[in-house]
């Protein structure tokens, strides 16, 4: 059926946003029935590239061929009609609408003559699709009631629902734990075996090795090259992505652990978590890991005063801690780096300097007015300290790549006098280059006496960085593992239900 061996071919694509060239003369070839990984640092232009393919953005230059025929998509529906489906990086759901509608939005089933929507058929079809994915929830539930991981499954179902020839997945595993990722791999492989071609974007090397046969790398909006996955060495790939070598991802560090600073006793919040107890010492990095929705973020936010707990107590520096809001927490000495830096960490429309000083404005105010010179000085020195790549502190944060944005959030934490840092997925969606800088920074902070709680879903990160690890499952801490016994197997065992072989297998059995 194909006039060409390539299902999709793009030549010389250039896409310009006001003030930024997001894609610069980019090439890409996707064979029929292959899984092709697309990699690159944050801001390399991967997501933009996807949006060009799916017709969300129109490129300024370049040609696109589908099965050898030149096409031009002006609108997402054009791409949908041509059999291209995409799972976008940021979950794009309608929280108020049912799962079924989320799956079928844009291509609802309608009765020919009356143009009336066939709800029954759609619900049945949705149920079938979700069943295949091992999801156990009713397609009539509103999307907003689902957890992030469940929403990601719906996104996948949405892509499957159109029976696409080309499926694009933009960081689908970012919100999933290894088990759920495994399920996704299997689905992807099945789709490939059925003749679909898949473009797979991820920052995780394990995804690429596990799935893809080819890998294409972008760097700074430019096309770098395409390789067979089994032919390129890990280090070469990193060089291609970053433009230089990264010697050591997890720098060796000697822990310098001091007295206990924070103790949590039997903390509980109805519906979210219960019986959470742990202690943290100065200079220590305590890992907090588990499956998505295990309640880690909730625990952290409770400690930071975003939410209230209704059971247990927190002892901080020997005294019982009572915080009503984040400001209280910061005053007492607890800082929090949130999971979602764009929504919770930064004021995107502001420049770097203002973002850094936002939480410590009182320090620069004399008689109510802000001392702008002093503010600039502090902001500049902190931005330099964490190594933000920018022209000046007056650059807008929105113009920075993800990794640099994360560094700005770190700089923000350094303005306050804190003792405990709670870092919630500090490397989520951050490229390898920035990742190692962040790890270095975390170690540096621990050495200088901070107690650090590191929430992470990435096993290598947890094992490489932490002195002790608490594993959570369904709102409870199921294991506290010391560095000596810290292995992937131990963590997995603790994070999954002992009675069932695996969370997802369990779900499937039910469906």
């Amino acid at each position: 059926m194909a006039d060409s061996e390539y299902a999709l071919e793009l030549k010389g694509i250039t896409k310009i946003f006001p003030g930024i060239k997001a894609l610069d003369d980019v090439y890409f070839k996707l064979k029929t029935g292959e899984i092709h990984a697309l990699m690159g640092e944050n801001g390399a232009g991967k997501s933009t590239f996807i949006k060009v393919i799916t017709g969300v953005h129109a490129p300024e230059e370049g040609e696109m061929y589908l099965n050898g025929r030149q096409v031009a998509f002006n609108h997402p529906t054009d791409a949908q009609k041509a059999g291209i489906a995409a799972i976008y990086q940021h979950v794009t759901c309608y929280p108020d609408l049912s799962v079924t509608e989320n799956i079928f939005m844009g291509h609802e089933k309608i009765r020919r003559r009356t143009r009336c929507i066939l709800w029954d058929d759609m619900h049945k079809e949705a149920e079938r699709l979700l069943g295949e994915l091992g999801a156990g929830f009713d397609p009539r539930t509103p999307m907003g009631a689902l957890s992030v991981a469940e929403q990601q499954l719906v996104e996948i179902a949405k892509a499957l629902s159109v029976d696409a020839k080309i499926i694009i997945m933009d960081e689908p595993t970012a919100a999933l734990t290894s088990n759920e990722s495994e399920e996704l791999y299997r689905i992807a492989e099945r789709l490939r075996d059925n003749g679909a071609s898949i473009i797979f974007i991820s920052h995780r090397f394990e995804d690429m090795y596990r799935l893809a046969s080819k890998v294409t790398v972008f760097r700074d909006s430019k096309y770098i090259g395409t390789w067979n996955v089994d032919e390129i060495a890990n280090s070469d790939l990193i060089v291609a992505m970053v433009g230089r070598e990264i010697s050591q991802l997890f720098p060796k560090k000697e822990a310098n652990i001091g007295e206990e600073i924070l103790r949590v006793e039997g903390l509980g919040k109805a519906g979210y978590f219960a019986d959470v107890s742990f202690s943290l010492r100065r200079g220590e990095i305590l890992g907090l890991t588990g499956l998505v929705g295990a309640g880690r973020t909730e625990v952290c936010q409770t400690l930071f005063g975003v939410e209230r707990y209704d059971k247990g107590k927190v002892i901080f520096k020997g005294k019982e801690l009572k915080v009503r809001n984040p400001r209280d927490a910061m005053r007492q000495g607890i800082g929090y780096l949130s999971e979602d830096r764009q929504k919770q960490g930064l004021v995107l429309q502001w420049d770097i300097g203002r973002n850094i000083t936002l939480s410590a404005l009182e320090k620069f105010s004399g008689g109510g007015a802000i001392d702008k010179r002093k503010e600039l000085e502090v902001a500049k020195s902190l931005a330099e300290k964490v190594g933000v790549k920018a022209k000046s502190v007056f650059d807008l944060v929105s113009s920075l790549s993800g990794g640099n944005q994360q560094k700005v959030v770190f700089a923000k934490l350094l303005t306050a006098e804190l003792d405990v840092l709670i870092l919630d997925e500090p490397t989520k969606g951050v490229d390898v280059g920035a990742k190692s800088a962040i790890y270095e920074m975390i170690n540096e902070l621990a050495r200088s006496g901070y107690g650090i709680v590191l929430v992470s879903s990435e096993m290598p990160e947890v094992i490489g960085m932490c002195d002790r690890v608490a594993v959570m499952r369904e709102g409870r801490i199921t294991a506290m593992l010391d560095r000596e016994v810290l292995t992937q197997e131990a963590i997995l065992k603790a994070s999954m239900d002992d009675t069932a072989p695996g969370a997802l297998e369990g779900r499937r059995a039910e469906a």
Partner: protein, 329 residues
Amino acid sequence: MEPRVLANKKEFTFKSFFLQWEWLLVVLILAVSVMNASLSEYFLEYDNLRDATMGFLDKAFIVLPMVFIILMGDIDISVASIVTLSSVIMADLFNHGLPMGWAMVAGLAVGTICGWINGMLVVRFKELSSVIVTLATMIIYRGIAYILLKDQASGKFPDWFQYLGWEYIGGIPFILIAFAVCAIGFGWLLHKTVFGRRVYAIGNNATASRYSGVQVDKIKVLVFTLAGLMSAVTAMFLTSRMGSTRPNIASGYELEVIAMVVLGGISTAGGKGRMIGAILAVFLIGFLRYGLGLVNVSAQMLLIILGLLLILSVAIPQLKQRFASMRRI
């Protein structure tokens, strides 16, 4: 990671400096003045211009805190009702024998309390949005004014009370001086202080602000309370200008105030805009109305002109942006 040195200065370009919204307002004010002057020989008389400001400045006091409210992405449509209620309560207390000074204090206090109630409702019931909350309180506050004063008008204030809205100090209207003081105060608050910076932060990203230790709720309550207080200040001036009060005064002020703030370039969608813009807008609309009034343009034409001005003022930047991005492509 190679250490980097960041530049010390912000890049300054004349183009971006002169492309600011406020310049457009200045140009518009000049254009309106030229137009008015050519249409009516009376416009450029000093006495007339001076007295014209007395006519439109009363509601301008509400514009100042409304800038804060709209910057934070909220809105308060109960301000006109607060004006009425505090005016009515002031008059009522005065009629019951309270000295005028104390009655004024009570009026200001009532306005402040009304604003505080708005603020508390808005932060306690986040799911409701400020439009709904203040829509309800708008009806309630005016409702209370009706209950208190029924079909009566209330007046007979001491003579000195009338000076507020009608007298001059050194040839300058007192109301203009008072407005200038308040405008400078609010401008300072918004642009120079920690408080103002936080208001902008909330407007741009309330969640991130909260996570950064900004007490979003407290600031919101404070801003709504300020709006209540300034509405009460407007009530003082308006009552003084009318010499009496009724439960139906100041109706429709809320929309005029919001229109001025928007014309001033304050955008809800990103916490952008400056106090000076809103102040310029007050004078732009004020002089436009006055000038057209001098040539006795009919009320309906005035409505149409003001409506179109409002639309154009928001449409121009939007269209400009669109053309700019088209040209770059």
